[in-house]
Symmetry: C2
Subunit: 483 residues, 2 copies
């Protein structure tokens, strides 16, 4: 096949300045937020409209070139990697807010729009978009749809799928379809729900209808300080058991606090064993009334101190520490490998104890900063790739954490997706018939397997340049090849 | 094919007393809650376990006999009708609660369990299952999953799909698969979401993992009385615009009030033009604090009176009128045809005005009793099938209401499903590519079309015994035939 001919055709479709073919520039697209795996595309194309996306896809389909949609590239499971080479379709230029309907609390936006920008745009009128990944100032809403992203406030408000009402999608054939709509429960199959979280293997989303929420009357954040993780874990269960659903309950352990305080100075107590960041929102009366019950649950579990943010500035400072936690890991480790396990909330203490034991056994430190309220863990395995064998060690330990989550009735991903990283764990959770059902579904949307190949399901025909091709049983002969 | 042989085989699979083949007994299964259409199955089989369901399905698949799952038969879109004859697989015997995990707020139940029984079982411990169709004392949870049922409290808590975490499903091939799980966002495709609302065309659900909620500390119901529909409609918008999300906002018009008061004596004011039944729930402080704002929104829209239920008995009495409203229509009309349109909340007044005009034009009375908070209308078209042409007239008027809903950006079903009733309206909402995408999905799960044929999508190859075969363009040559 003729690479130059394809480049020319793509340039005609989207404009020559929006086709990236220079090897150095292509390197930017070799990884997403999970830098442990790398795979460089042969071409990156940046369309501006649905029609351009459809035309690019039709070209790829005709030429049988693999293609991979990509938003802001902040994903944490390698979902946007071009594992078989081919074309990355970058959606960053598609970031318009197409429509805002305040009365019906709906907005229609393009996939490249940054999550926080939507809230920024509607907040002067008192509205916001609820799902708030920690990366919300950088990640795109199209990416959120692909991964069904969560965030601290998803405890109370639900994850991305609960806020997406309709989608415009370019299928693998280049056809444009509309799924769902403006209504809460549109007729026919819930294809919107199936698309949300399909990690770019069903089609490319080009417009998203989302629900907007009215800002609550009051928001109150507080820090609950504990001597150790068992007490903090028991307090999480205690709050929920009391029938209280805070907007968020985030937990951070001592190592996370240390990293954050070195990085951003949020004012967390560095001598604490664990902290909970709890936020209440709703009518003023509700928020005020729930402060005392939360404090008394804390006291019942040896809480050392409670700090209720007195004003919005203090509240934002408390959150700043949490939101910057991943980035702050650089203060205490050259690299980290973040896991994304889910467990039934009652198993919190058990799993944290097991992670600590695994940390000791592997000789790798683990920092925990996570959505405790919904049992969504984020153990950050700290490693240094310059030390022989540590990458492999971190990966193995990550796998053991996943298995431990499954063993207590949990799951291998809460919000980061399966992508490349966890595809080999899928058989640990699902039987052959279950996986076959999913693969049949994939085959409907993606009959030639050109759309985002090598993701979600175990497969041999993929390649990663660094990382653990061998550990994952990947055949290194499949390389990044020309068209 | 040999009918007797099939009956014998089924009897061996589920027990002879659970195979219904007598024509008189089969008549019980000729319709669901939408009695305007009828189609009698050739056989009804009542399995007790997943294995029995799978064996029955395998037999049907091998013999190429159409088969239709059925729960309690309360559906309102003809979804459980055996349009091509064949076997109805009744799931009423599968009504066990398999597991209740209070700490993690999960229950695993069988599909034949009646919605309210689940709440009854867990309420001594302070929990409940949130989605509450008006028929909750009769409808089954499996049917709720099939139709993605809503209910008054779904305004605040979301519909069935928001409360279903995992499913055990028997596929059309007889294979058993497990979708989703215990976790909020399991890895892989959200097949649970696609199955919920697939109206029995993807498989037969044999076990359901649902979320349980903790009973709110306080619940307060109140009746807001208005002179007319415009004022009541404006008050609905006003409440939501104030940032208040009540647990429910139900509206009833004068004709509905009349029917209810003749039937159940809920104490509604029969001279009112419209009433709103508003319920608040949550912490006591929140509920108390929201009473005044709701009252003042009402006053701003000429509310004549507000009655806040003083105790649980009074609250239940207020709800009893609403919940019995459909049944009470018998007091004022021999038959009714209920519609299930959805509109953006801001279009409430516009659509109610149009419905009133249609009512005048067709000379058929319409009673409105519906979920005003989420814009889910239920116009009840009153008719008398003994009067020549009224069935047809009611159907035509129903179609015009659906078109009016679509015209203001709404949808043809909120919670009752497409089923048989609305399949011909699907092209009004979706383009050919959109419908083809759905049909492709159906073909994956239902490759031979044996599973619940003739539902959701327009098709000629179906038959209904009474009602409007001609109006729907159904070829009456396709009859209910022997195997």
């Amino acid at each position: 096949m003729d690479r130059q001919r394809i480049i020319k055709e793509m340039a005609k479709l989207v404009g020559v300045e929006y086709v990236i073919s220079d090897p150095t520039e292509l390197k930017v697209y070799e990884a997403d937020g999970l830098t442990i795996y790398k795979a460089t595309p042969e071409l990156v194309v940046l369309p501006l409209t649905t029609e351009e996306v459809a035309a690019v896809v039709r070209c790829c389909a005709r030429e049988r070139i693999p293609f991979v949609p990509r938003g802001a590239g902040t994903g944490l499971s390698g979902g946007a990697l071009a594992l078989e080479g081919g074309v990355v379709i970058g959606l960053n230029r598609m970031q318009r807010v197409l429509e805002v309907d305040y009365a019906n609390q709906r907005a229609v936006i393009e996939p490249g729009l940054i999550n926080l920008w939507l809230t920024n745009q509607v907040s002067p009128r008192g509205y916001y978009y609820a799902p708030d990944p920690a990366s919300q100032s950088a990640c795109s809403l199209g990416g959120n749809v692909a991964e069904n992203s969560g965030g601290p406030h998803c405890l109370k408000y639900g994850v991305t799928t609960n806020h997406v009402l309709g989608l415009e999608v370019v299928l693998a054939s280049g056809e444009v379809v509309h799924l769902g709509g403006y209504a809460v429960d549109p007729p026919g199959y819930d294809l919107t729900g199936a698309f949300v979280g399909s990690e770019g293997t069903f089609g490319i989303v080009t417009a998203i209808t989302v629900r907007l929420l009215k800002r609550p009357e009051a928001v109150k954040a507080m820090l609950l300080v504990f001597e150790n993780i068992p007490d903090a874990s028991a307090a999480v269960s205690g709050i929920i058991a009391a029938g209280i659903v805070p907007a968020a309950i985030e937990m951070m352990d001592r190592l996370s606090i240390e990293a954050v305080e070195k990085g951003t100075h949020a004012g967390y107590p560095t001598d604490a064993g664990a902290i909970l960041l709890v936020e209440l929102d709703g009518p003023i009366a509700e928020v005020e009334a729930l402060l005392a019950p939360i404090e008394s649950v804390g006291r019942a579990h040896q809480m050392r101190e409670i700090r209720v943010a007195r004003d919005e500035a203090e509240r934002l400072r408390l959150w700043k520490g949490r939101k910057a936690a991943f980035a702050a890991m650089g203060q205490i480790s050259p690299e980290y490998y973040v896991q994304d396990g889910v467990i039934p909330r009652t198993q919190l203490l058990k799993i944290l104890t097991e992670i600590e034991a695994l940390s000791q056994a592997h000789g790798l430190r683990v920092a925990n900063v996570f959505h405790a309220g919904d049992g969504n863990l984020h153990p950050l395995i700290l490693y240094d790739s310059r030390i022989e064998g540590q990458v492999r060690q971190a990966e193995e330990m990550g796998a053991e954490i996943m298995k431990a989550c499954i063993a207590v009735g949990g799951s291998i991903t809460g919000e980061h997706g399966v992508g490349l990283e966890k595809r080999d764990f899928m058989p640990l959770m699902y039987g052959p018939a279950d996986l076959a059902a999913m693969e049949r579904l994939k085959a409907v949307w993606n009959p030639d397997g050109l759309l985002n190949p090598g993701k979600i399901f175990p497969t041999a025909k993929t390649c990663v340049e660094v990382g653990s091709a061998a550990a994952k049983g990947i055949d290194p002969r499949y390389g990044i090849q020309g068209f």
